[in-house]
Point group: C2
Chain length 253, copies 2
């Protein structure tokens, strides 16, 4: 039998059916589905460390989790062994041996989330569960101008869910970019960390800017106020996906 090695799993999942990543008593989670698959494939009960706690219904194009694991399955075959035991909305793309001290959450340098808005009078059944349908006319230039205001190191208390218990609400946003393709607007937000509901509230604030309810120039003041009521609404989870992760140990595809 081989020794325990710290193994990182690169996964991807459609979050619709899950109560987020982290195991909880009142619903199925991605962590539980993954740990069940690991048990069925290797016979080992592991506690996977995940790169972030995604909310219920949020997707992950990329996601990293890891645990010390002892298995006779060759590393190259581990994804297939797990995929055959996973539901169809979760997939393991790759498995790699990482240093013993590597932890998916604490070793993560930067993350990117992408929020997708379908800005059209009528909804699109092909975007159901993947985008937030927003039927009102938006001034896209104002959306872009507002997005740029979130870049930098700020106190983001005004765009976190109220009452979230965190030590500090200061985070650094490296990019916050709105892009438009046809009637689909995507907002990519990259930062060193995110508060609860932060990207959904930022995007809600961008839509308010696009509607003319607030000025892009107001955003600095809204952040300074730390007042959740001054920013835009928290958009639904279904439009949100984790789309980028940066580690020193490897580069994600």
């Amino acid at each position: 039998m081989s020794e325990k090695r710290n193994i990182a799993l690169f996964i991807s999942y459609v979050g619709t059916a899950y109560h987020g990543w982290q195991i909880q008593s009142n619903g199925m989670t991605v962590q539980e589905a993954m740990q069940t698959a690991v048990y069925r494939a290797t016979g080992q009960r592991v506690s996977l460390s995940g790169c972030g706690r995604t909310d219920a219904g949020v997707h992950a194009r990329v996601y990293v989790c890891n645990a010390p694991l002892e298995t006779s399955i060759p590393l190259a075959r581990l994804p297939l062994a797990l995929n055959s035991r996973l539901p169809e909305d979760i997939v393991v793309k790759d498995a790699r041996i990482v240093p013993e001290r590597f932890d998916s959450r604490f070793s993560c340098r930067k993350k990117e989330y992408t929020y997708t808005v379908h800005n059209s009078r009528v909804r699109d059944p092909f975007l159901r569960g993947r985008a937030c349908h927003f039927p009102y006319r938006l001034d896209f230039d104002r959306v872009c101008a507002a997005a740029a205001e979130f870049v930098g190191t700020h106190d983001f208390a005004a765009v976190q869910r109220q009452g979230s218990p965190v030590k500090t609400t200061v985070r650094t946003i490296y990019h916050c970019i709105a892009e438009k393709s046809g009637d689909v607007i995507t907002v990519r937000v990259c930062g060193n960390g995110f508060l609860y509901n932060m990207v959904r509230a930022i995007t809600g604030t961008l839509l308010y800017a696009g509607l003319g309810k607030i000025e892009p120039g107001d955003i600095a003041g809204i952040l300074e106020s730390r007042d959740r009521a001054l920013a835009g609404p928290t958009l639904p989870a279904e439009g949100l996906a984790m789309t980028g992760l940066w580690y020193d140990e490897f580069t994600l595809p």
Copy 2:
């Protein structure tokens, strides 16, 4: 009360939950869902004529159906009135008055179907129900060369479901184009009509060509043989979508 006018509805649907377009006793169909919505919105029982009988699980990015309808709802508001009474996987994009003799099926000049293949070692949960996962290595140049062989007026008996009762198996294909974007291959087939399972069998034959199981140059002979056993397999319904319709009366968006 206004008079009956022939109204065409431009719709779009994700076919996963439906037994195709045409009403049948053993499962929910798109036609039944549409007619129920028309009844709820207008109080009228209509029999919608659809542009084609799509198979169970097949999608439609575009689809046209029509019926004589008497309604006090302004035409511009009819899509919204229907959408609020439709399930989320069907949407009415537009409604137009068409000539009395217009029929969605018989007035249709050309149709385009698109088959989507996800050609990757591991499946992608975001393409579930929208593409056929095909994990084997394909020579894409051979796929393209084989696709070109289907263009023209031919007897397509070799790529229809055996035992389908039709008067003639001769059809004209205007284009049959394979395209590749990352690990997604799409095959767009435009013709004046399609036999049962024809696009799914054509795409299956293209994959056989890509695998090297048949030569692109063999396809003319396979069509001439009218022998279903010589062509490739019928791929699953989930990868297929109606993507184009051409009428003299209007241009679809």
